[in-house]
Assembly symmetry: C2
């Protein structure tokens, strides 16, 4: 199920230009800082095309709570979500949800799951925009927390709920020509069309899944339920593998010093003054 025409979105983005965010200082341009104007561009294109369905994540929450002014506790507000998975992916913490009121609405938050979402008849397409400076050989960007995705998969399985959302990523490849950034190419991928075994988890980078959208194969042919199980299996294997690796690299080579330390520390003739 796909409501957004991603091919058209990509066609529209190629050739688009934005102003270099810090053109006055000529400073270094981090991928993230440069990306913001392109993300806005994607949002405005989609909002124009699907005005009834496109939201920023926090706009969706504000809209939902504004339309239900009699629901005021966190529990009542959480109950407005039909889907436990969507509740898990989109809602804010209990405290923030309780404190929300029309004069104190939500703003953008860095660890929101999605930049943009499309909502229609209870189905959600979550969209994140990743931008890439083509002149740099940068590391693959953070896609989503592997743990958050494992939790989402377990909620999907527990509730037998496999057709309420998709996780979509848009890559914008840009070049910097003088003071203008130009989009040279763009790509779309849906994480549920990838093979969970292809997903690389960087445990030392906040356990984020990392890939370049243009590189991720879209060849998954089994059901979303199979995807959820297969992803969890892969996540568990990866966590165990990371532990083995940590013991090999960070424990084993240093154990000999622990033995020496206990022996010098225990000796009353210790030449090192250890108490």
């Amino acid at each position: 199920m796909e409501n957004i025409n991603y091919d058209l979105l990509i066609e529209n983005m190629i050739g688009k230009t934005v102003e270099r965010p810090n053109k006055n200082t000529n400073g270094t341009l981090s991928g993230h800082a440069a990306g913001e104007p392109f993300e806005k561009n994607v949002y405005h294109y989609l909002k124009d095309k699907y005005p009834q369905n496109i939201y920023k994540q926090y706009e969706f929450l504000n809209d939902l709570y504004l339309k239900n002014p009699l629901k005021i506790t966190a529990e009542q507000r959480y109950a407005l979500f039909d889907s436990p998975t969507i509740l898990f992916l989109l809602s804010r913490g209990k405290d923030a949800t309780e404190k929300w009121d029309p004069l104190n609405i939500f703003e953008e938050k860095q660890n929101d799951t999605a930049d943009i979402l499309f909502h229609k008849n209870g189905y959600f397409e979550l969209i994140d925009v990743k931008t890439r400076n083509l002149s740099k050989n940068a590391q693959a960007p953070n896609i989503i927390s592997s743990y958050k995705l494992a939790q989402a998969c377990s909620i999907m399985i527990d509730n037998n709920e496999f057709n309420t959302f998709s996780l979509n990523y848009i890559e914008i490849d840009w070049v910097d020509s003088q003071q203008i950034l130009t989009c040279k190419n763009a790509h779309h991928a849906n994480i549920f069309k990838s093979n969970p075994e292809d997903l690389y988890i960087n445990w030392a980078a906040a356990m984020q899944i990392q890939f370049h959208v243009c590189d991720i194969r879209q060849n998954w042919e089994d059901s979303p339920k199979d995807w959820a199980y297969c992803y969890i299996r892969n996540f568990v294997y990866s966590a165990k593998h990371r532990c083995d690796e940590m013991l090999q690299k960070y424990v084993k080579p240093f154990e000999k010093y622990l033995e020496t330390y206990s022996s010098i520390a225990a000796s009353p003739q210790s030449p090192y003054g250890i108490k």
Copy 2:
């Protein structure tokens, strides 16, 4: 052994102002971007005061290789270091060291160990400047890779070399008033004067040691050799603890799904179409 008068440095920094780096765009000010001008400030103050002894890390390497033009292989250049620990902490990779030449000298690199170094008679004071926006309740900054420090400690022990360097951190606390950032307070800490058991390792953030310089106690009274042993013990404990935590949090809760998955996958009557 301390060559730099850190009290004077701190006195000098308090009240110093710098221009807001991105004042034209009024954009968000990340700690790092805002910090750069204050770091330059510290460098210039120290360079004025100790002109013969203060370097940026890459300047020291450039200087060393320029003064020894007949040493051209990586091995020959590495042999210019008297201390194995300093070699480990300051030098660049073999490939980069081999490729270095007077027309292709080193530039600043993000994962250099130190921003600034003081060198005199074979003794090194490595100095990193951390800046802090007092109006934000930010997470403690990355200090140094816990693994790099464990490796350094093992080299110190293996070579019985405990008095060649210190690792110093300067915290600059600033407030943003209109377009000007003002340093309201500053702090100094030497990691070898802290208790290794106080050092928090954030394994999910590139296994960095994290602390606010103003918070770290400076109460270590035993020898540097004891420090190295104690640090390694703490590092190993922390790595093991992180593994336990990962198994509890990322493996155990998900294992039940693996059992279900194998049973549905193995069944020829599988209703889920798993091959």
